[in-house]
Subunit: 241 residues, 2 copies
Amino acid sequence: MSPLSRPSIGLIGLGAFGAFARPHLERLGSVLGHDPARPGGATLAEAASQPVVVLAVPVARLAEVARAIAPHLRPGALVVEVCSLKLRPLAALRAALPAHVEILGTHPLFGPQSGKDGIEGLRVVVCPGGGAPLRLAARMLRRLGLQVVRMTPEEHDRQMAWVQGLTHLLGRVVAGLEMPALPHTTSSFDQLMRATAMVSQDSEALFRTITEENPFVEEVKMRLRERMEEILGPSAMPLAA
Amino acid sequence: MSPLSRPSIGLIGLGAFGAFARPHLERLGSVLGHDPARPGGATLAEAASQPVVVLAVPVARLAEVARAIAPHLRPGALVVEVCSLKLRPLAALRAALPAHVEILGTHPLFGPQSGKDGIEGLRVVVCPGGGAPLRLAARMLRRLGLQVVRMTPEEHDRQMAWVQGLTHLLGRVVAGLEMPALPHTTSSFDQLMRATAMVSQDSEALFRTITEENPFVEEVKMRLRERMEEILGPSAMPLAA
């Protein structure tokens, strides 16, 4: 039996996504959770020395966490990140982690909101690597009922600039409109509100990752600005200096 | 038995909404449909001389149609309009129709898309009037399974500037973005696409009515422009002259 068939999993980061992921990971093996903001769990060294190490930390803290765990990682360990971007996070991990570990980039296309009733059938993007542990990891993800989609990091970031970038940008726009109370609505309005409410519950850190750190999101913003001017007309007021 | 308990209904305008409404109106009484673009139905005079006359015509053509039917209307007839706005259409009808008819402003908060699987439980706004025929009309709408919501024309237009204005403006923005193929999406993105697809199937005339002829929609556009600039940053390019 492969050591990855029921591995011990170090889970570093127990914020919104880490806390949401934990019970699902526990279906695959025992989980040692570590989060400096939540004392009482495993130490960083304990969590980082397991055969599988899942990093559920914001993109902005990924390089720092990678440097902190590097000395504790065992040879052949599988380090999994779950960021909403792939190009920059994977480059940061490759730069900070020792050559004797395998790195797996994943992006679960769901979160605490969309996965609150279960994750069966939901999608996770996996950036393809060559090694056997990565094939085993894909098998583990399928054991959770997930649909595994393979993409290169660049292809992932290009698509997510639209899928997540557009949704989060419009979510923020709508959330800040300060609409009056609207007791009588249409189905399309209700659906628009549900779509924007889902993303507006995500953290500020995730919003910044998705809308500022994806190299392809600038094009989405440009197209959105052009299209807004076509539909709304240009701003009537000169911009303040 | 009141003549309105199973009235003959003249239905003027058999475009997207009129054609959609017809089978529902036929549950209330016999329907004489007239549309100059679809010969073979009732004449304008025939449709206009029924005890109930439903005008399913674009706001832009309402005054002209009202002037055309005026000579054929019978005293005490109930003239119902179904426009997405209330202030201007009701003023146009009051100006063009004889004093011996009752005018009922309604706005079904659904259409061919959102009502394609039935209209049971959906909402219709009715602008309150005093007369007995109007109470009977509300009863007829309830017989169709509709939830009747009373609002003044101004209150209606203020709310719909947001409910419909915002949805149609953002629907147009998203529809014109020319996104690449995105085979792997999130639930919130899918919901955003469903909301915008619903309204982007509506006609150009309805889009203009909702986003240009509602006196309160200018504020929605202004708030949307301000909020877009906050979220996207101001346009980098100077505006063309």
